[in-house]
């Protein structure tokens, strides 16, 4: 009761409390947006990225597991998605910059456009990484991908390191790429574990 009376006496307190609550909600919401498990309940950090097989623009069948040992940025996008278009030139630069360290960017086109239209779009954007023709079932494996762009950063061991939903800054994407590049392959993790056991 006294607390409420205090609030009554200080209307400014109401504003401060409301602001604090709004700030907490905002921070929580953005944390969830960046990597929250609520988006894809079964996919959390350290989950093994679900494997899939999709056709690329050049007609090759590509499996995600083909890139095991590399850090992968798996980017779900569509030709009708404006924010996706902003990211693509960044991805081209980042692919050039980090390829030697083992980065592989993989685009998955999640739209109904024809393969020719997707090819034209990718060519216009100067894409230098493989583009796969997406399927709803693959989207479902990754939580339904209800909004685009959505990217998953996958470590060299095939485990999800980070998830980025919506358009973020290039620097944030680069940070996540570094996190993925810093991971060790499953075999090197096993050999490190073996050495530890031997040394004990």
């Amino acid at each position: 009761m006294n607390g409420v009376l205090f609030v009554k006496r200080n209307p400014l307190t109401l504003v401060v409390v409301a602001f604090a609550v709004a700030l907490m909600l905002y921070v929580g919401f953005h944390a969830a947006r960046r990597s929250g498990p609520g988006f894809a309940p079964h996919l959390t950090h350290s989950s093994l990225a679900p494997d899939f097989s999709l056709e690329s623009l050049d007609g090759q069948t590509t499996r995600l597991s083909d890139y095991r040992g590399k850090a992968v940025l798996l980017n779900f996008w569509a030709t009708w998605c404006g924010p996706c278009k902003i990211e693509m030139p960044w991805f081209v630069e980042l692919q050039n910059q980090y390829a030697s360290q083992g980065l592989q960017i993989v685009g998955v086109a999640m739209d109904d456009a024809s393969k020719e239209d997707i090819s034209k779009f990718a060519k216009d954007m100067g894409v230098n990484y493989p583009i796969l023709i997406g399927k709803e079932s693959v989207g479902d494996q990754y939580g339904g991908v209800p909004a685009l762009p959505e990217s998953f950063l996958i470590g060299r061991d095939g485990k999800i390191v980070d998830k980025i939903i919506g358009l973020r800054g290039k620097a944030e994407i680069e940070d996540s790429i570094r996190k993925a590049l810093d991971t060790k392959t499953a075999s090197s993790q096993a050999s490190a574990a073996g050495k530890n056991t031997t040394s004990q």
Binding site: K8, A18, A78, A113, F121, G166
Partner: protein, 194 residues
């Protein structure tokens, strides 16, 4: 003027209740604002109820369909500026003998977004109206007819886009007979009855 103890208590309780009410309102508003653009949930365009429209046979009657885009979102106009963007389009399934005339789309609002700083997009935000011409043929039996259709759109917010969606819609049209033709009496020749 004196206020006794009970009146003072009542005043305190009243002000406490008002304080709680205000606090609850502000918290609710803050919560709504914070979650108003929860990513991952595609926004839904809504259409206001369409009042019964009377359409005369053999004549085109315009029916206005009023749509609302939720705050914080936009959809492409009917004439987006890129071949890759999905235009907002109304598709009607009309009963036989009721012809769909032209559909009038509003002009898009030219706007920049954080993801298109250098390129203006043509979009609809907030409320917009699409007008459909309904043209019952002369052979249509007068009565009420329900028109069904769907509005196809693709929405985005400032940072993400959502897959295309279709909003099923319907409205009722009352077809009435055309008014009887007015036969003016021809001017009579003064020689007719001679």
């Amino acid at each position: 003027m004196t206020i006794d103890h009970d009146e003072l208590q009542n005043l305190k309780v009243g002000s406490n209740r008002r304080g709680c009410g205000t606090l609850a309102f502000i918290l609710l508003t803050a919560t709504v604002l914070a979650f108003s653009q929860t990513p991952g949930k595609a926004p839904s365009i809504t259409m206001a109820a369409v009042p019964l429209t009377t359409a005369q046979r053999a004549k085109a009657t315009m029916v206005n369909l009023n749509f609302r885009v939720p705050s914080g979102y936009h959809i492409n106009s009917n004439t987006p500026k890129s071949e890759f963007l999905i235009p907002t389009a109304l598709k009607m399934d009309l009963p036989t003998d009721i012809v769909l005339g032209k559909i009038e789309y509003p002009a898009g609002e030219e706007a920049n977004f954080p993801f298109s700083p250098d390129e203006k997009l043509s979009v609809y935000t907030g409320d917009f109206t699409i007008a459909v011409a309904v043209h019952p043929l002369h052979s249509v039996v007068p009565g009420k007819y329900v028109m069904h259709g769907a509005l196809r759109y693709q929405a985005c917010d400032n940072a993400a886009c959502y897959p295309p969606k279709a909003l099923p819609l319907s409205f009722e049209v009352k077809v009435v007979k055309e008014p009887p033709e007015h036969h003016a009496n021809p001017a009579q020749s003064p020689h007719i009855h001679n």
